[in-house]
């Protein structure tokens, strides 16, 4: 799935047993696409030594503090760089 700047997204809530670049504290969180960084080989596959890891779109996603730490959290907002397979469209 491809996203544009301004799109609302939700991160997967997946207990990955392999390599992932989706930090646990950002699983199942709502955020907003703030930048498209281009396509890069997916580290989740590349880590196993695969020379032909699929390229996936990478996005900077901004999360409000309350979306990450709970509604009483005022700050900080966090931006993380997340691959398309970690993201789904949010309402």
């Amino acid at each position: 799935m491809r996203f544009d700047v301004g799109d609302r997204v939700r991160t997967q809530n997946r207990n990955s047993l392999g390599h992932t670049r989706l930090p646990a504290y950002l699983r199942g969180r709502d955020g907003e696409i703030v930048r498209r960084l281009g396509a890069f080989p997916l580290p989740d596959v590349r880590v196993s030594g695969s020379a032909d890891a699929p390229k996936e779109e990478l996005y900077t996603v901004r999360f409000a503090a309350a979306a990450v730490w709970g509604e009483t959290a005022q700050e900080p907002d966090v931006c993380a760089d997340l691959f398309a397979p970690y993201l789904e469209r949010a309402e």
Binding site: L22, P23, Y25, L58, V68, E75, P76, D77, C79, D81
Partner: protein
């Protein structure tokens, strides 16, 4: 900020694994030690916070350069002869502090860091304490570094989880209007480029 003992232990364990791996690759004739040393030396020779300081000083003096830096940092630093793509394609991002917004960099997953622009990272940057706390209590962590931000300044934490590396462009200190580019560069600190200091 102190580094927890477990970080040193983890670092020592990783270091031992790397040494054993290198020794095994040499034993099998896959790698020559002097070749590896040459590659590392060549990389570190040009990797220094002096690069990041130079970039910031230029941004302070040249608004058009600053705009290009924030838009496409890799291309902008290449104008100054700095090569970010020594090992692998790396996307460089520069984020600018303003009176309304302060930026701070972390890698919560490991220790990703723009080595070409800042040199090797400080031990605290790799510590579990910094990595786990700055995303949750940035204001508290920055205060421990001696940086007290006004309440109206919003803090954004940039977690370098993938192919992008980040540097902070601090605000130009007041009273520096007459300084040359070289003198301005001297004002910039490594911590300022990470976001744990004002400049």
């Amino acid at each position: 900020m102190s580094v927890h003992a477990s970080d040193h232990e983890a670092s020592a364990a990783a270091s031992n694994r790397v040494k054993r791996l290198v020794a095994e690759l040499e034993r099998r004739g896959i790698l020559e030690e002097r070749v590896l040393d040459g590659i590392v030396e060549d990389f570190l020779l040009h990797a220094s916070p002096a690069n990041g300081k130079r970039v910031v000083a230029r941004a302070w003096l040249d608004a058009a350069f600053k705009k290009r830096l924030l838009d496409d940092a890799g291309a902008a630093v290449a104008e100054l002869g700095i090569d970010m793509s020594h090992w692998a394609p790396v996307e460089l991002r520069a984020v600018a502090n303003t009176p309304r917004q302060h930026n701070v960099i972390v890698c919560t997953l490991c220790s990703c860091y723009p080595i070409a622009l800042l040199g090797p990272s400080p031990a605290w940057y790799k510590s579990e304490a910094y990595r786990s706390r700055v995303v949750r209590d940035a204001r508290g962590v920055l205060a421990e570094f001696g940086l007290q931000l006004p309440p109206e300044t919003k803090i954004i934490v940039w977690d370098s989880t993938a192919e992008a590396r980040y540097i902070v462009v601090p605000q130009r200190p007041p009273g520096t209007e007459r300084l040359s580019e070289d003198h301005l560069a001297e004002l910039v600190t490594r911590n300022g480029l990470i976001g744990t200091a004002a400049v």
